[in-house]
Symmetry: C2
Subunit: 283 residues, 2 copies
């Protein structure tokens, strides 16, 4: 999660934990620099196309970004009749904004990214992911998400599309931040946050869920299979003051997707027994 | 898939393809030898406990074996009223037999493994996986699965629990073999075969499905999240002469599981759109 090592001649390897790594054969390093916030690396992998890593951790690849971006956005959006105002905290590559703007009801999609270098790297090297940042309904704020959310109001959906809970993203995993989001949401609004791997990060997921429960009445977990993230199985926590039915209720917008379907939306909330168990037991 | 490299001092790395690898920090090599069929390696990893690799490819680990073994067995078994005779081709670690014997209706569970060294390594290093091989209902045949199936008859379920389609397992992916299995099944019988990753092996999955369609009326794909297998998402092909309803119809046996639940059984057949699409389009 924290160590970045790459051999310029052939491989980029993410040390996902001290004891696990995932390596990608690469044929080119396109960008490698230190921003004021983190190490920013763009390489071209043979298997998944271009790959963006921050502080050595894979954030997005051309080959599988569709899974993460579709599942963090469409699952909550299809549970609302006509979402109008949406914010993404983090997510500087713009992929979540691209998916959000597929929904015709959305009037404003705000991207709140602390590191402008991530946005510019995405514009330069991932145009098919960042393209919607130029949509007139999109607004990019280069700002600290924690500060920004304090003044935000009346959002139908706030998405925490963060890096891992180390470095610049640490505060995005705190109960205080979830409380600010609760105050920034309109009645019936929904929070969704990426919540790491149910195989590798169970303590973190429980801690996040408990933090959300201090500010929200209902918290649910759902899953998606993302091959370039640790363990290949990723989770998302959804919080709301009302119990959201976990299926796609409002299919008024017809959108092009590669992972999401109305049936996948429901199936994503069906948890393997070991996940059900660690989410329900205390301690 | 075919290269095995490991540094005895610290890491076992599987080259899942020429361009992807997954590395595990290890603290001990417990067994490393050439059997008449393949390279057999048992190491202790920090993350997933003991790990068995054949020809350098991860077959099973103590930490996540439950996913594969539960999903390759319980999904078909809970679709049958009272399965009595079951065979596993491959699967020398015994994990599939262990799960099959949780079903009280099963009278015979046959393991057909070509490589006796895999069975003995499992008995020595994975007693919690291989334990059920000593059950009086279990019969171990050290034999070529292709030959063995030709004389088999009246099986309710045949599971192809094979290695990758290289080396000794190649013939287990051929249409002729599926035809032999069709003849070995009782009326209403089911074939299930592990069918690799929907992210990395789409051509193989389609080829297997097409091969099965020459011998069976109905073929379905289902999925499970297995962190130590390439991409973390794994698939299973199910074939039958009758259309099996993809949910758990017969919950007469109550069994202890860690991944499978009746809801997971149904959700496993819900495919992401890109999987639906490559499974339905021709070519």
């Amino acid at each position: 999660m924290v160590l970045a090592r790459h051999n310029p001649q052939s491989w980029f390897t993410e040390y996902q934990t001290d004891s696990l790594n995932l390596g990608f054969r690469i044929d080119e390093i396109l960008l490698h620099e230190k921003s004021p916030f983190q190490d920013v690396l763009v390489v071209r992998t043979e298997t998944y196309g271009r790959l963006l890593a921050l502080d050595g951790a894979v954030q997005t690849t051309q080959g599988d970004e569709f899974v993460y971006h579709e599942m963090i956005t469409h699952v909550p959006l299809f549970m609302m009749a006509a979402p109008k105002k949406v914010a993404v905290i983090g997510g500087g590559d713009g992929g979540s904004i691209r998916e959000i703007l597929k929904h015709a009801s959305v009037q404003e999609a705000h991207l709140v990214e602390i590191d402008g270098r991530v946005v510019s790297a995405a514009r330069q090297f991932f145009p098919e992911i960042s393209c919607a940042l130029d949509d007139p309904r999109a607004q990019v704020h280069l700002a600290d998400g924690i500060e920004w959310v304090r003044q935000a109001r009346d959002y139908d959906l706030i998405i925490v599309d963060s890096t891992d809970p180390v470095g610049p993203a640490t505060g995005l995993f705190s109960p205080d931040f979830y409380q600010s989001i609760a105050e920034a949401l309109a009645p019936g609004g929904i929070l969704v946050a990426q919540s790491e791997s149910p195989y590798l990060h169970q303590a973190l997921i429980k801690q996040m869920a408990n933090g959300m429960r201090t500010a929200f009445s209902h918290v649910r977990l759902y899953l998606a299979a993302i091959p370039t993230y640790p363990s290949g199985l990723w989770s998302f926590l959804m919080a709301s003051q009302h119990l959201p039915e976990p299926h796609a209720r409002y299919l008024t917008t017809k959108i092009a997707t590669r992972y999401w379907t109305p049936h996948i939306q429901s199936a994503a909330f069906v948890l393997p027994r070991f996940v059900e168990e660690f989410m329900t037991c205390d301690g």
